[in-house]
């Protein structure tokens, strides 16, 4: 097999894996948009905050240590214990549920009935508040995230592809884990929304707020529920991305990677987020591999948006989005 074709196959596989990571971020946006029509600008910061909280709990870090020390003249930084990864993940998920409740009670509840743009602006405020709050709570230093996820080249794939093609493909173990986790997450969300009472209520709210309210579904409960699930998805995304680069404030910028995925897959479709992620991942990696070297490289960021725009022209609601028809 020609060498260039083998390389292209390797790039495609890695693009699919990168796409899964983008889809993980996009999922959180979709969940909230689907249930409430809010484009949650804070989703990237939620991933950052969730990952910071996870590492903080895991390492036994005292929250607000700098503030406490500055006010009381103390020198506290860490508790004398460390928390096992699994318990830390559960506790961090608990914090994200608490966060969802606070957002509903102190922000969203006061904005019911306001235009979507107001709710969008509120999430911008929320994003900047959370970034600063996370800084004060856990500090600005880069934290190593170690929850036992495997990293580095998968030796089996390397060996098998070498036996087949005479060239071993590189696939990162972390990407394989991310793909499995994303699949489980999508399956769980699908089962939840199809077969549970709360899931059906969530779909009812997504279809028609007023009709859902008229049959006794609590909008407030649904909002807390959906923000909690989005918080959990943000935690998963934060773990996967944080394992690659350490948990640091640039983690919030992963939201930029989700936007073309949403444009392409649609803002209201969970399968759309996955398929959109895969298309963007493969598209940008292949473009960088084939065309990138001719035009100076570093094409991934902008090409993802070009790809999304091309899809938008032909299908404005995205691949899996719902076409909105308004009749007068």
């Amino acid at each position: 097999m020609p060498e260039q074709l083998l390389f292209a196959m390797e790039v495609t596989l890695n693009g699919l894996m990168a796409g899964v990571l983008y889809a993980l971020v996009a999922l959180g946006f979709v969940l909230i948009f689907k249930a409430s029509g809010i484009f949650n600008y804070a989703q990237g910061v939620m991933a950052l905050f969730a990952a910071l909280t996870l590492v903080g709990i895991q390492q036994g870090q005292v929250p607000f240590a700098h503030l406490i020390n500055a006010v009381f003249g103390t020198e506290v930084h860490h508790f004398p214990w460390q928390v096992p990864s699994l318990i830390a993940i559960v506790l961090a998920a608990g914090v994200m549920i608490l966060f969802a409740w606070i957002v509903e009670k102190y922000v969203l509840q006061h904005l019911i009935g306001q235009p979507d743009i107001i709710l969008f602006m509120a999430t911008i405020g929320l994003a900047y508040f959370m970034e600063g709050f996370g800084d004060i709570m856990w500090g600005s230093d880069i934290k190593k995230l170690d929850v036992g996820l495997p990293q580095g080249m998968n030796a089996t794939i390397d060996q098998v592809t070498f036996d087949w093609f005479g060239y071993g493909f590189f696939i990162d173990n972390l990407d394989i884990v991310a793909a499995i986790v994303a699949s489980l997450l999508v399956a769980a969300l699908t089962i939840f929304s199809q077969y549970s009472k709360q899931g059906r209520a969530l779909r009812a709210v997504a279809d028609d707020h007023s009709a859902a309210l008229s049959v006794g579904i609590s909008l407030r409960f649904i909002w807390v529920l959906v923000w909690s699930i989005a918080g959990f998805v943000a935690l998963v995304a934060g773990i996967m991305w944080g394992a690659k680069s350490g948990v640091q404030f640039s983690l919030s910028l992963i939201a930029l990677k989700a936007l073309p995925v949403l444009m392409l897959g649609g803002f209201t479709s969970i399968p759309g987020a996955i398929v959109g992620g895969l298309i963007i991942g493969v598209g940008e990696q292949l473009f960088e591999f084939t065309i990138g070297p001719m035009i100076g490289g570093a094409t991934q960021n902008w090409f993802a948006y070009v790809l999304a725009l091309i899809f938008l022209i032909f299908r404005p609601q995205g691949l899996f989005g719902e076409k909105i028809i308004e009749r007068v």
């Binding site: 390797e10 880069i142 990293q151 404030f249 640039s250 910028l253 991934q300 902008w302």
Partner: protein, 428 residues
């Protein structure tokens, strides 16, 4: 009553916020927030702690207390310029913005305002030419020196010959990241190695394509010109593809403790160029611990002492303090102005005896600054990371860079700047 209390509180706050006019003021355009805070915090801590040390231990410089009021830029160029405008009226003697973007914006402003701009190891490289850039100083080394120092090291580990070797440059796709390319092209021609350039877009969280290309190209060495998250991801990706860490070398801005720590043990062996000493085994740090940290006057909580970026902040502050001292000597007054400070920087002389006196023996090179040369000697060393010990170690002496290649580039670039801005060469 309420209003009078409010007025009193406001006056008190203003008195606290505004430095006493007689202070020697070195504004710190720092970034403790945002995506680049991990590098900005230790640098700002080191910068502030050194001036606090001078106040606490020596009673300031020449009997005048110092201050380093911070203004948060978040590594944002517009905010950096705002910080400059907001603080220059406080009697600012020199600026050190720790950002190449902010530096480019401030060069015409500081020149017009007669305030020196100090950019050690960053900023506009050709500002080393004092004949064109009267108010900008980037001693003791600049980006192009770093590129040459890295190549020198790679040549040494290759048995003195780089002919036929392949070096890949992974760089931040920005003006900063592109800085070394021309120098490396010149060095590639001179030494006969092949240069492969691989840009990474801001912020650099996704580098899969670049590292797959490195895996295919099989370069002998990889060089990195990154900042922020790009560094941590690159080191992790290098480990993932099992690229030998001892063949991976970064510029000094890719050589912080926070750059290597997220990759854990896999980062052991990674190298970076440096223009100053590493670790905390210098008397000055014991003094900082005693007079600043233990006295509760540190900018941070004291746990950054000895880290690469903290040391760089201390070194920058020390060189500015020595320049201020020189300015006091030249002008015969302890209360210097920014104009006098510029004269002091241009006449700075750093000797090993003085470094030892300051508690920093061997921490940096001996050098003198002149009207023509604002860039210093361009020397540097190589540091290597040991993850188990959690420390950098110097694995070479401070050596020279290839000025035969660099000087013509400095002359060419500064001449172009002079022509664009109708600047007449000085120092004649």
């Amino acid at each position: 009553m309420k209003y009078s209390k409010l007025a009193a509180a406001s006056v008190t706050a203003l008195m606290v916020a505004t430095p006493v006019l007689a202070d020697l003021v070195f504004p710190s355009l720092s970034y403790r927030t945002g995506p680049y805070a991990a590098g900005g915090i230790p640098y700002a801590d080191g910068f502030a702690d050194y001036f606090t040390l001078l106040n606490e231990r020596d009673g300031g410089i020449g009997g005048v207390m110092t201050s380093a009021p911070e203004c948060e830029t978040a590594y944002n160029t517009e905010k950096g310029v705002e910080c400059y405008e907001a603080t220059k009226g406080q009697g600012a003697l020199a600026y050190n913005p720790l950002s190449t973007g902010i530096t480019y914006q401030l060069i015409p402003k500081v020149t017009a305002d007669d305030i020196p701009l100090y950019t050690p190891g960053y900023g506009r490289t050709s500002a080393a030419n004092g004949k064109v850039f009267s108010h900008v100083f980037n001693f003791p080394a600049n980006y192009w020196n770093a590129a040459s120092l890295a190549v020198n090291h790679l040549k040494e580990v290759s048995g003195g010959d780089l002919a036929g070797k392949k070096i890949a440059l992974v760089y931040h796709n920005s003006a900063y990241g592109k800085e070394p390319i021309r120098t490396l092209e010149g060095l590639a021609e001179k030494h006969g190695f092949e240069l492969v350039t691989l840009p990474v877009d801001h912020p650099g969280q996704e580098q899969k394509a670049q590292w797959l290309q490195i895996r295919r190209e099989r370069p002998d060495f990889v060089m990195m010109w990154g900042w922020g998250v790009m560094n941590q991801v690159a080191i992790q990706e290098a480990a993932n593809i099992r690229f030998p860490m001892e063949n991976f070398i970064g510029v000094w801005w890719s050589g912080g403790d926070h750059d290597v720590s997220p990759a854990g043990d896999a980062a052991t062996g990674y190298k970076a160029v440096t223009f100053h000493g590493v670790g905390s085994d210098y008397p000055v740090f014991a003094d900082i611990q005693k007079h600043v940290v233990d006295a509760g006057k540190a900018a941070g909580n004291g746990d950054n002492i000895g880290k690469a970026l903290y040391n760089r902040g201390v070194y920058a502050a020390m060189l500015l303090a020595e320049s201020a001292k020189k300015a006091q000597e030249i002008h015969g007054t302890p209360d210097i102005t920014s104009s006098m400070m510029r004269d002091g920087m241009e006449a700075l002389e750093i000797t090993e005896a003085r470094m030892t006196e300051l508690g920093m023996p061997g921490f940096g090179p001996e050098f003198t600054v002149s009207c023509e040369n604002h860039g210093g000697p361009g020397t540097g060393a190589i540091q290597q990371w040991d993850a188990a010990a959690g420390t950098w170690s110097l694995i070479s002496d401070f050596g020279p860079s290839d000025m035969d290649v660099i000087q013509p580039l400095i002359d060419e670039d500064s001449a172009a700047y002079a022509a664009e801005n109708n600047i007449e060469e000085r120092c004649n």
